[in-house]
Amino acid sequence: MIVLAVDVEKQLGALQLAVRFKAAGGATALFGPSGAGKTSVVNMIAGLLTPDRGFITLDDTILFETDKRIDVPPHRRCIGYVFQEGRLFPHFNVRQNLDYGRRMSRRPRDTGEFERIVALLGIAHLLHRRPRMLSGGERQRVAIGRALLMRPRLLLLDEPLASLDAGHKGEILPYLVRLRDEGGIPMVYVSHIAAEVHQIATDVVRLDEGRVTAAGGLELLAGTS
């Protein structure tokens, strides 16, 4: 079943981005070298970047369509976004960061859900710390928790391991795999590292210089490093 459909064009400096792909549930990797336009594509899905032309649909909702002049603002798209650098709010502690999405949508507190996700990510002992007191790996786990607790319809992960050293990568990967298998939230995972994509993704979309060069299963990773 198709969950996410993207067909967008945008001129980004010298790069003429024209990307079309569809994603089912599970984890779809946007895979390609840096500068291929991967982050721009997820920013368009999140609503942080406006395409010049095209459409983006999630389930049966149109998030963006030039012809119908639809452009749902990011705060109403209900798409969780885990950024490369975490982007935790420095003036809030971990608990307040995790609660931010729920507070913004004025949902009542759901202790069960909160504790389940905190346990899944192993961040229970960090709740009262401020982001600057966290290690890189802890920061990314909190960022993932923050995105999950807003109950997203789709989760975007933009190179969430890029800022971590090898040891901390190993610390996060199992959580992401569990999330894929138990979370039930479709994921778009951006990466330029084949080994990482291999562990997490169920589908692969290859991106090169602003174009989709191939789409399919993990066999697309063969012959890349």
Binding site: A46, G47, L48, P73, P74, H75, R76, R77, C78, I79, G80, Y81, F83, E85, R87, F89, P90, H91, Y100, G101, M104, S105, R130, R132, R146, A147, M150
Partner: protein
């Protein structure tokens, strides 16, 4: 040794009230203008920037005179405010607060603008993806992150308002108990024989208040900064 007479106390109390009221009224406007200058893209931004900074470079007497022309009882703005709201500035302490607020305004706007310019916009984008609309993003992310700049601006504006002399005396004169602030009182005491002792006492008060404001600014600013960004 530092025994203030009732009239000197009145001047001190009046100065503090004028400075507090001036800063409190200026703050929302200061945040709004600071935000416009930091984020806005509009025609005439340079002109707005210039107007905001004008009280800093104009002779204070000129600012006071312009206030007198516009906000006096017969001035265009002053007459309007009196007819519709019964507000009078001329020769009242409220006028002194207006003059002090105008003089302190550039010092208030500048740090706020700088703080807003240095905020990582990507944090605001993150807040938007988490469901915060523009207003919520402003109040939950932008404003708290700009807090060190806001504190700095408030204290600078307050200190300026506390010591304002030229614009105030030109606009609302030097009326004991109504518009005679510490500065105006010192000036008055220096004009009369044997006024030196009274002037000296008020000079001491002025030094103490200014130092206290500076130390408070430094302390609050450092606290807010370390809270967010570490040492």
């Amino acid at each position: 040794m530092l025994e203030l007479s009732p009239s000197e106390w009145t001047a001190v109390e009046l100065s503090l009230r004028i400075a507090v009221v001036a800063t409190a009224w200026a703050l929302p406007f200061g945040i709004a203008i600071g935000w416009l200058l930091a984020r806005g893209k509009f025609w005439g931004k340079t002109v707005l920037d210039g107007i905001v900074h004008l009280p800093l470079v104009l002779p204070p007497v000129v600012t006071g005179y312009l206030l007198l022309i516009w906000f006096g009882r017969k001035g265009p703005v002053g007459a309007f405010l009196y007819d519709h709201f019964g507000i009078v500035f001329a020769f009242r302490w409220t006028g002194a607060a207006l003059a002090s607020g105008v003089m302190g305004f550039p010092l208030l706007v500048r740090p706020i603008r700088l703080a807003l310019e240095t905020i990582d916009r990507r944090l605001e984008h993150a807040a938007a993806t988490l469901g915060a609309n523009a207003v919520l993003v402003f109040f939950t992310v932008t404003l708290p992150l700009a807090l060190p700049g806001i504190i700095a601006g408030v204290l600078l504006c307050f200190a300026r308002a506390l010591g304002e002399f030229g614009a105030t005396i030109t606009f609302v004169s030097n009326i004991p108990g109504e518009t005679q602030t510490i500065s105006a009182a010192i000036y008055t005491f220096l004009q009369i024989p044997l006024g030196d002792a009274a002037a000296g006492r008020l000079v001491l008060v002025a030094i103490v208040l200014s130092l206290a404001a500076l130390i408070a600014a430094e302390w609050l600013g450092r606290r807010a900064t370390t809270r967010f960004h570490g040492e």
